[in-house]
Subunit: 161 residues, 6 copies
Amino acid sequence: MIANSDNTSSAAAPQPRIALFPGSFDPFTRGHASIVERALQLFDHVVIAIGYNAAKISHDDISRREATIRSVYHDRRERVSVISYSGLTADAARDSGACAIVRGIRSVKDFEYERDMADINRQLSGLETVLLFSLPELAAVSSSLVRELKALGTDISHFLP
Amino acid sequence: MIANSDNTSSAAAPQPRIALFPGSFDPFTRGHASIVERALQLFDHVVIAIGYNAAKISHDDISRREATIRSVYHDRRERVSVISYSGLTADAARDSGACAIVRGIRSVKDFEYERDMADINRQLSGLETVLLFSLPELAAVSSSLVRELKALGTDISHFLP
Amino acid sequence: MIANSDNTSSAAAPQPRIALFPGSFDPFTRGHASIVERALQLFDHVVIAIGYNAAKISHDDISRREATIRSVYHDRRERVSVISYSGLTADAARDSGACAIVRGIRSVKDFEYERDMADINRQLSGLETVLLFSLPELAAVSSSLVRELKALGTDISHFLP
Amino acid sequence: MIANSDNTSSAAAPQPRIALFPGSFDPFTRGHASIVERALQLFDHVVIAIGYNAAKISHDDISRREATIRSVYHDRRERVSVISYSGLTADAARDSGACAIVRGIRSVKDFEYERDMADINRQLSGLETVLLFSLPELAAVSSSLVRELKALGTDISHFLP
Amino acid sequence: MIANSDNTSSAAAPQPRIALFPGSFDPFTRGHASIVERALQLFDHVVIAIGYNAAKISHDDISRREATIRSVYHDRRERVSVISYSGLTADAARDSGACAIVRGIRSVKDFEYERDMADINRQLSGLETVLLFSLPELAAVSSSLVRELKALGTDISHFLP
Amino acid sequence: MIANSDNTSSAAAPQPRIALFPGSFDPFTRGHASIVERALQLFDHVVIAIGYNAAKISHDDISRREATIRSVYHDRRERVSVISYSGLTADAARDSGACAIVRGIRSVKDFEYERDMADINRQLSGLETVLLFSLPELAAVSSSLVRELKALGTDISHFLP
């Protein structure tokens, strides 16, 4: 019998389950949007966290990137928020009250990279990393590829949410 | 029997979030126990679901396997239950009220196998598969290896929960 | 400017370019059909070659498998033929007048298997192997998975051509 | 019996089958030459297409690279041509009248990269990508490695055609 | 300064460094022979250790396999010996006085398998596993492939030492 | 200075077996230290060889890096030495009198990179490369990750020997 613990006294209302979805999102693609969508089936709230290197990108550029992603989730802003951070992912997760990091994996290369990151994040903060497979039809859509196509003058709207 | 708690009253009582953890668990190793432990940080309830081929294993053997695993989680039976099934994993998940399938991945080989399974389960039932990396120090511990070591007379208690 | 060599004397009409597509095709899936379709963009003719182990399968079963696949390509029987063989793939290719073996690859596991096979076939017969990536949305569809789903009573028509 | 369709009226002389072999070829190695050689067994004509980033390399450098490769195939210039392009590979393929892109794969890393590229090219232009395995004894020979050896003063002629 | 420790009193002559090379060697291929050859550059002695499942193969068959391999190394029997064992590899290594297990790796699949085995053997016995890459031109030569080719009536002498 | 000891007398004095452990070691991590430790079980002497690009790093920086590593092995300086080199690894190995190159592998990505390097080094110098698996709990610890963590202000002493 599965019973959701007898919260008769409502003092201890169950905490919302928050996942941090970190990335550089340069740009935020349909592949990323698909991960957010599916993470919302598993968590109460998803924090999209734009990691950046303060030495390489201006504050304005990051603000714009934040605003762009935020506009995508305007109608669901109660369940999806957007932040940016320049330090450790583990710290961003703790500051957001996240119980897990969520990441999409598209390939073996991703798999090995994420494994190392997950291991280090677990060592540094005890935080769990949850992986979702990218949808097969979106697996080829990486930010770097979209950037490259854009630089060549290709219409990339098909790859964006 | 897993019943999605009788929320006769409270309009807004959030449903418990249930994950199905399918496998053959022959035997249930420390690697499996680690996945259950970590899934409990993300879900309210984990259903350990022993998949079996009715033509290859007796009802008694499956009952014993169920009982062994159940005893491991006796103290937490409100959050961990054990079932067995001989059909589709997607059906077992639906019957359990699970919102996701959870699986551990240890290697590239696992990664590709799980990707195909996740894709098919998504196609068949819309159900999401969530992956957790096995802990590095447990990555080599597979059921098949433990069975082989046991057949050679090695003490395998170190690999069991 | 690309000019095809001046075949002024037409006695030597160009030979049709034939590819052998070997496999066990148990069953022949939409994934296989996609490879045939795309190979027809590259070759004049595709020979679907059912490899079998004479000790493990009856002549009748192979005949039926041949007939099933043949019926799929009935309207294009001038460009797609179906044979079966129990020996070396390299021999089947030579007997069919094929200039290449064509195979689909879905995963890293396939990649390494095909690499070894291609290397051995090149050593044994000088024959080249040409690879096509499976379409992403079909990458999870393997014959073994389809067989397993069928054994569990699932409707598999969605996975067949 | 395999018969190529009765082309009794010769008005429709079969079009030469052209493959585009894109790369940066910096430098063009024995590994590349081996792919050209084997592609010529499958296609009537191979267009070696040097992709470049106009912002990073001078017109003169590209012209030199073109000339070097062209000299390798001087005796077969009717079947092998060399071009350079700075835009999309898919566009270069269309402009060349190619029915397929051909690429060599040496490793799992290549496999995943090529899979993404092939998928995007199929989405952008419907063009098929055909893969050939590098010969085992040439699998370690990449342009970047050859460049590095050259920078260290090693004689690299052994790695060039 | 590298000095081989001051063995002034020669009672303690340095122990020969022995490596165990375990496998089923069914059959012993040129790929295996290449590993032995190269291991002899690193160790004083190589023990080829045929692992077998006593329930699946007769004592006579194992004796024959031992004899066949032994005959290959007859001229170097002072540095290469052949044993068979049906228990743990770690035990066979200890009984042989080996300071390391040596294995060849041909592929990613091998890599992951060997990693698990090495990890378990280190846990069980503290024994180190040393890996050598198979030579590229021998990477496709596995025992299972050679067995299959033999079953199809192919001359396999090219793949044997 | 590494001198292959002047065995003027003793006809039979076995030569010390020296392994070269090349890398950039920026920084030298616990992962590297673990490889040295385990290589010492197999070889008489390990030469830690810091490869550097003379155009990118100053002589002083390399000297400091050498000194740091040397201090780790001060108590075992008879069996572990530290050098730096800016040319071919194969040349550094020969100059050190090494009979093998030793490297740790952590992942499939490493595996493929090392395979290419080993193949080229074998072609250039006949030198063998010996691989040791990184310990599972250290597999995520790469120099690049440690550098990144340091840049973010994280205490990295846990990752250093």
